[in-house]
C-alpha cells in the first residue's frame, strides 16, 4: 500500500496529498524503520534463544525442562495471544474504515487478552519460584526465565503502549499520525505473537519431549 492510498484510507478530508507533504513521506519511512527495529529485536531474541539452546541441559543437578513444564498452560497462553493478534488486526481494519468505536472496542479486547496472558505467565513463574526452581538455581533456569521473561516484558510494554494508543484515538480519533502509530503498534503486537510461537515450539513442546 503506498502513501497516497494510506492517506486516502484515513478519510482525512483536510490531508494535503500534494508533495511535499511531511505526513505522507513519514508513513513509508516510519513503517520501514519500524521493520528494521523489529529486526533488531528479533536479533535480541535470537541471542536469547541461542543461549537457551546452549544452556538447556545445564541443570546443575536441578530440575530439567521435562519436570516443570505444563503443556496445557503454554497452550492456553498461545491461544490467548493468537486471538489477541486477530483482535488487534480487526482494530486496524476498523481504523482503515475510520470507525472509532470499533477501533476502541477491539483495542479493549486486545488489552484484556494481553493482560490475561501476562497473568497466566506471572502465575507460572511464581509457582516455579515457590517450588524452589528460582532463576538462580541453574543455568537452565536462568536462560528459561530470561527468554520467556523478556517476551513477557515486551508484552507488558505493548500493553502500556496500547493504553497510550487507546487514549490518543479516544481523544483525537484517526488522524494521519495516530493511524501511523496504530499500524506500527499492530506490527509490534504481531511480532510478539511470532516470537511466542517460537517459544512455544522450542521451549515448551521440545522441552517436554
Amino acid at each position: 500500500m503506498n502513501d497516497s492510498m494510506m492517506v486516502h484510507h484515513t478519510r482525512d478530508k483536510t490531508a494535503n496529498t500534494s508533495t511535499p507533504d511531511p505526513y505522507q513521506d513519514a508513513f513509508s519511512k516510519t513503517v520501514f524503520g519500524f521493520w528494521l527495529y523489529i529486526l533488531t529485536d528479533c536479533l535480541i531474541f535470537t541471542t536469547l534463544f541461542t543461549t537457551y539452546a546452549v544452556m538447556h541441559n545445564e541443570t546443575f543437578g536441578g530440575v530439567h525442562s521435562r519436570d516443570i513444564f505444563q503443556l496445557s498452560t503454554a497452550f492456553t497462553e498461545t491461544m490467548i495471544l493468537l486471538f489477541s493478534s486477530v483482535t488487534c488486526g480487526l482494530s486496524v481494519i476498523a481504523a482503515v474504515n475510520n470507525e472509532r468505536k470499533k477501533i476502541l472496542g477491539w483495542l479493549i479486547v486486545t488489552f484484556l487478552l494481553g493482560i490475561s496472558f501476562i497473568a497466566i505467565e506471572f502465575r507460572e513463574f511464581s509457582d516455579l519460584v515457590h517450588e524452589g526452581h528460582k532463576w538462580d538455581q541453574s543455568a537452565f533456569l536462568s536462560s528459561f526465565f530470561t527468554l520467556v521473561g523478556t517476551h513477557g516484558l515486551h508484552v507488558s510494554v505493548g500493553l502500556f503502549w496500547l493504553i497510550v494508543m487507546f487514549v490518543q484515538i479516544f481523544i483525537k480519533g484517526i488522524t494521519i499520525p495516530t493511524f501511523r502509530r496504530l499500524v506500527i503498534f499492530s506490527l509490534f503486537w504481531h511480532f510478539l505473537d511470532l516470537i511466542w510461537i517460537f517459544i512455544f515450539t522450542f521451549v515448551y513442546l521440545m522441552g517436554v519431549l
Binding site: P22, G33, L36, T40, I44, T47, T51, W135, D136
Partner: protein, 657 residues
Amino acid sequence: MLGRLTLEDFKHDFVQNGAVASMVLGGVGLIALIFYLKRWKWLWNEWLTTTDPKRIGIMYIVVVLIMFMKGFGDAMMLRAQQAMAVGDSQGFLTAGHFQEVFSAHGTTMIFFVGMGFIFGLVNLIVPLQIGARDVAFPFLNALAFWLFTAASMLVLISLAIGKFSTAGWLAYPPLSELEYSPGEGVDYWIWILQIAGVGTTISGINFLVTILKMRCPGMTLMKTPIFVWSILCAMILVIFAFPVLTATLFMLSLDRYLDMHFFTSGGGGNPMLYVNLIWIWGHPEVYVLILPGFGILSEIVPTFSEKRLFGYVSMVWALLLITFYSFVVWLHHFFTMGASPGVNTFFAIMTMVIAIPTGVKIFNWLFTKFRGRVHFTSPMLWFFAFLLNFTVGGMTGVLLSVPPVDFQVHNSLFLIAHFHGMAIGGLLFSLFAGFTYWFPKFTGFFLDEKLNRYAFWCWLGGFLLAFMPLYMLGFMGATRRLDRYGVETNWHPLFVLVAIGAVIILIGASIQLFGLFWSIKNRKKNWDHTGGDPWNGRTLEWSIPSPPPIYNFAIIPTVSDVDPLWAIKRGEAPPARKDYEDIYIPKNTPIGMYIGLFSLIFGFAMTWHIYWLAIIGLIGILVNTIIQLSGNDEHDLITAAQVQEMEEARIRGNAAL
C-alpha cells in the same frame, strides 16, 4: 537511601584527584563562561534542542574531542607507567588503578571517540551527499546523540565517583562476574555500553532508512557516492551486531544483579559463551569503525587526483563482501579457546579471505592516483600514512589469522600493535583526513594547512615510534596489560622508545587542537571564497554553499552520474529545476535531551543500586517517550517565496565579495 554509595567512593589517589579537579574546574569554567557571555538562550535554541543533523554532527565532534582528551590521557598514563615500572621501581600507578586505566582507555576510544567521530561525520555529510534536506527520523537522531552524550558523561562520572571496571574493555567473565568483581566498576561499564549501544542502534536504523529512502531523483544505488555506500554497509552491521551486544550485556547484568548463571564459573554457567557472543558483536563492530574510513578515503583520493574513482563497482562489491564476511570470523579472537582444528581452520580461512576485498580497495585507490594530478594536501598526506600503516597492520592481521602463529602471539603486545595500527593508522588517520577535507563545508573556512602538516608529521613519526617496537616486544614475550616487569627481560629500552613515541603523538594532537582554535580565531583570513567548492569536488555536498543553509538544497537536485557535480561542470548533467518549493523543517524539541538526562540518572542509579532513583529515571524516560509519541508531527514551514528570498540574498552576497 544511597544504595552502595558512600563517602569513601569520592576519595582517590593523587593522580586521579588531579584529573577529577581539572574536569570539575573545566565544567564550572565552561558554565561560568556561558553565563558571562549570556549565551544560554542561544545555546538552548540553536544547539541543545536542535534536530538539524548539521548541528548534531558538530555536537558529536565536540563531545568526541572531550572524550579523546580523556582517552588520550589514559594512554599517556599507561605508557608512562610501563616506561617507569621496571625491576624494583613500582611506577606511579597501583596495579588496580592501572587495570582501571586500560579498561577505560579501550572503552572510551572505541565507543566515544571512534563511533562518535563517525556518527559526527555521517550526520554532517550523508544528507548532503544524497541530496536530502534532512534524515529520515530527525527526533531519533537527536535522541541518539543525547544517549551517546549521556553515556559519555557516565564515563566521566566514573572517574570522580567510585572505580571503573578493571576487567578490560570487553569485561570477560568470570573476572567480570560478581564473585571476582564485586564492586561498581563492571556495573558502570555495563550501563555505559547499554546506553551508548541503544543510541547506536537507533542511529543505525535512522541512517539506513535515510540512505535507502531519501536519495535524490536519479541517484540509483550504483550512482551513490562510495562514502554513502560505506555508511550503508556500516549501518547494516550496526543493525545486525548491536542487538547481540545489548542481549549479552543484559545477561551479564542479570548474572550480577539477580544471581543468574549465564557466564559464571559455577551453577552450570559457561564463560566461553560470553566470549563467543561478545565477539559476534565485536568483530562486525571493528568493521563499523573501519568501513566509513574506507568511504572517506574513496572520496578524497579521486578529488585530489582529479580523476574518477577507479573501479567504482568493485569498490561497492568489496564493501558488501566485507560486510558479509565480518559475521563469519568472530572466532579468530580466541583460537586458544580449544575448538577443534576444523573449526579453527574455517575461521582462519574466512579471516584470510577478508584480506582480498580489502586489497581490492587498496589497489583501487592506487590506480585512481595512477596518471592523475595528485595534490599533496593534508588529507592526502593522511591517506599516504593510512596506506602504509593499514597495509602493515593488515599483513600482521593475516599473520594472526594463522592459528599456530596466533597460539604464540595471542594476548601479546604483537596483537596490541596490530589493532592499534588499524585503529590509529587506519581509522583515526582516515577520520582526520575526512575532518580536514569536509571542514570548510560545514564551517565555511579552512583549517590552517601549515599546522595540519606539522601535526601530521608528529602523528606519523610518533605513531611509528610508539607502535612498531610493540611488534618486537610481542615477539620477545611481553603480554598486554602489563603493569610492571623485570630488568632481565631487556624490554625497558623499547618501552622507553614507545613512551617517547607517545609524547610525539601528544605534540601532534596538541598542534591539532591549537590549530582548530587558531583557525576559528583567524577564520576571516582562512575563509573559503569559492562559494562552497574549494577542492574542485565531485559530489553533491560541494554544489551548495558553505556552511549549508538550514534546508541544505533549495532545489532538490536530479543526478545522472556517479560524480554529479563533475557532470554539471562538464555540462553533462540533466537540466536543473528552477522552481522553489515549500520546505518543511521539523520543530526543535528538548525531549531527546530529557530522555538522555533520565537515562544518565537511570544508569548511575543502577550502578550504585539506588533503586528509587532508578525508578525515577525510568519514569522520566517513559513520560518523555509518551509525550513524544502523542505529538502532532509539528513542522516549521519555509515558504517557496522565503526560500527564493534567502537564495537571492546569498547570490547577492557572493557577488558583493
